[in-house]
Symmetry: C2
Subunit: 113 residues, 2 copies
């Protein structure tokens, strides 16, 4: 069992189609319990998602001792494959660097405990 | 003394001039101790800043039981006035909703403890 409270904060961007935001947010009021369990198992600790409605920009914030490994563990979960399929229609690319639904990882440059 | 570990996570956007990012990041390796003390006094807990270098987009994440009050407490600190004056030349507006250096607050729609 991974200790999901350990590690550094990581931050990433995604983008949701502005015209689908109401449905997308409603789906996140009822994230499948099996999906939540998989995230915890994979080491996604204190995981929050934030939204800028006018632009559809999504910010994810997660605590993990190894965010690359935490992402690979989720990629290996069947429940995640099904969740991502159910979400695919909601996403736009953040910008021309990435495909729809792909994340853009940010760089931490300041922290005050 | 405010308990800076209490409260909910809040998230906001700012934008830095891409051509000034190296100087801006270097300044944040040496944030004035008096500025760090003021942030703690004002209730800015577990405060992180993240950067997307290609676009200059900045994401701030802070834990606070009342982020509006925490912002007003910083607005009243002389050291913050001097810090913001020293930062003013680095900022662009996030987009046409706000002025340079102003934050755009995001809405939390998911949290997994």
């Amino acid at each position: 069992m991974t200790d999901t409270t350990a590690g550094e904060q990581h931050c990433f961007l995604m983008r949701v189609r502005p015209e689908r935001i109401d449905d997308y947010v409603r789906d996140h009021e009822h994230v499948w319990p099996e999906m939540q369990d998989a995230l915890r198992r994979a080491g996604w600790g204190d995981y929050s998602l934030f939204l800028d409605r006018p632009t559809g920009l999504v910010v994810g914030v997660v605590t993990s001792d190894d965010f690359g490994a935490a992402q690979r563990r989720m990629d290996a979960e069947d429940i995640n494959t099904r969740w991502q399929e159910s979400m695919a229609g909601y996403f736009l690319p953040v910008d021309d660097r990435v495909a729809p639904g792909d994340i853009v990882e940010l760089e931490q440059y300041f922290h005050l405990a």
